[in-house]
Every structure is written in structure tokens, then in C-alpha cells.
Amino acid sequence: MVVFSRNPVNSVLYLVLTFFCIAGHYLIMNAQFLAVVHIAVYAGAIMVLFLFVIMLMNLNQESEPQKSPLLKLIAGVAGGLFLFVMVGALKGTEQINLTQYGHSDIGLVSNLGKVLFKEFLFPFEIVSVLLLSALVGAIMLGKKEIK
């Protein structure tokens, strides 16, 4: 649905639906905090950004240029072959039941915070610098030409 709808706004809405489904899977797997963060970041921030850009560019008409059918066919065949290879590779793996290992407080805020600030402190700082540089870069790219 994300791929095949002609209108980009419909595509964004289907993608939001997909993200809510993924957040539901996170809840099933006892990753509560991650589910909340996922909804807030993806459905809240990123999708609003997409919708804003689509509205800004006035792209919500259906007159978008399409690739030739041959290229679409090639893409479909390549995706199908990839799916076939992956399913074939994963079919023989051992069936391990997920929830019998589940331990309910691993995804809570306190445990994740402890791990994040004890073992991953340096990557955390790097990510903050990355976000800052992305912010500055987006503002620099988004503004008008510098005289």
C-alpha cells in the first residue's frame, strides 16, 4: 500500500498505519518504552514532516510520472527472488518460542536508561552531536540562497 498508491498522501497514511502495527508488535514483545517512543518519533514527528513537505510542494495530485512497466516488472522480479532466497534460508531454522524467554521488565524506562547511560554513554553523545549537525544542516539547506 505504501508502495503502490499513486497519491503520496495516501502513501504516508498507510505508512502511519504500518508504524502503529510495528508499535503493537513492540508492545507484544515487552518493549513498552520503545513502543511509545516509536509512535512519538515516527507517527508524530517524521510523518508530520513528510506530510508537511508534500503539502508544501503541492504534490497531492495524481499526475506523477511513472517508471516504465519493464522496470517495474524487473523490480518485482528482483524483490520476489530476494523473498524466495530469504524464505528458503530461514525455513530450516529452529523454532524457538519467543515469549517463554520473555522477562517482563527489560523494556521499561529504568532498565533501558541504566544500560544507555552505563554502557552506551559515548554513542549517546555521538548521537546527540549527529542530531545537532543534522539540525544545522537542514536549516542551512532549507533557507534561501546566501547572498
Partner: protein, 103 residues
């Protein structure tokens, strides 16, 4: 909690999501939809990482998912800024028209 979900189902689901994203990148010409497909592929990886984190009862996978989310947010912000600049210059976001680096 729901019982009986094996890790294989999450492997399959994640593979299918990734392939939908990859086919979208290959088959479409709209740059915004290309970005959305990239998000879809990143989310497939995130889902698999949370699944294995739950399986091994280890928080490190979920912390990595945080980092992937931060990188995805940065990528989308910069990408959409570049996209709006391109649109301001050539009035289109068709990928096949972006074949020249200089005008």
C-alpha cells in the same frame, strides 16, 4: 501475554517488510516515496532487533534501536531539506530528472 509466537515469524515479517521497502525503492520515481521506503526498511531492522533482544533477554538491542531511530530522524530531516531545495530549483522531484549534478 500472547504465547506461541516464535522468532521465525518475526524473521519472516521483518523480511517481508524489508522486501516491500526494497521493491518500493526500485519501482517508484517519486523521491518522497523513496524516503518512505527507506524508513520501512529501517523499521524492519528495528523490529528484528527488538525481537532478538526479547529472545536473548538483553537490553542492548533496544538501546541500538534508539540509535537507529535517531539516525533515521536525522536522515529524514536532512533528506527532506535537500529535497525541498531540489524542488525549488527544478520544480520536480522525479528521480530520473536528477541526472545532472551541475546545471
Amino acid at each position: 501475554m500472547i504465547n506461541g509466537i516464535s522468532i521465525n515469524m518475526y524473521l519472516m515479517l521483518s523480511t517481508i517488510l524489508f522486501i516491500i521497502g526494497a521493491v518500493g525503492v526500485m519501482a517508484r520515481r517519486n523521491t518522497i516515496i523513496l524516503f518512505m521506503c527507506i524508513e520501512l526498511m529501517l523499521n524492519a531492522v528495528n523490529l528484528l532487533m527488538v525481537a532478538f533482544s526479547t529472545l536473548h533477554n538483553d537490553s542492548n538491542g533496544q538501546v541500538f534501536v534508539f540509535f537507529i531511530m535517531a539516525v533515521a530522524a536525522a536522515e529524514v530531516a536532512v533528506g527532506l531539506a535537500i529535497l525541498s531545495m531540489i524542488y525549488r530549483n527544478i520544480k520536480s522531484i522525479d528521480t530520473d530528472l536528477l541526472t545532472k549534478l551541475k546545471n
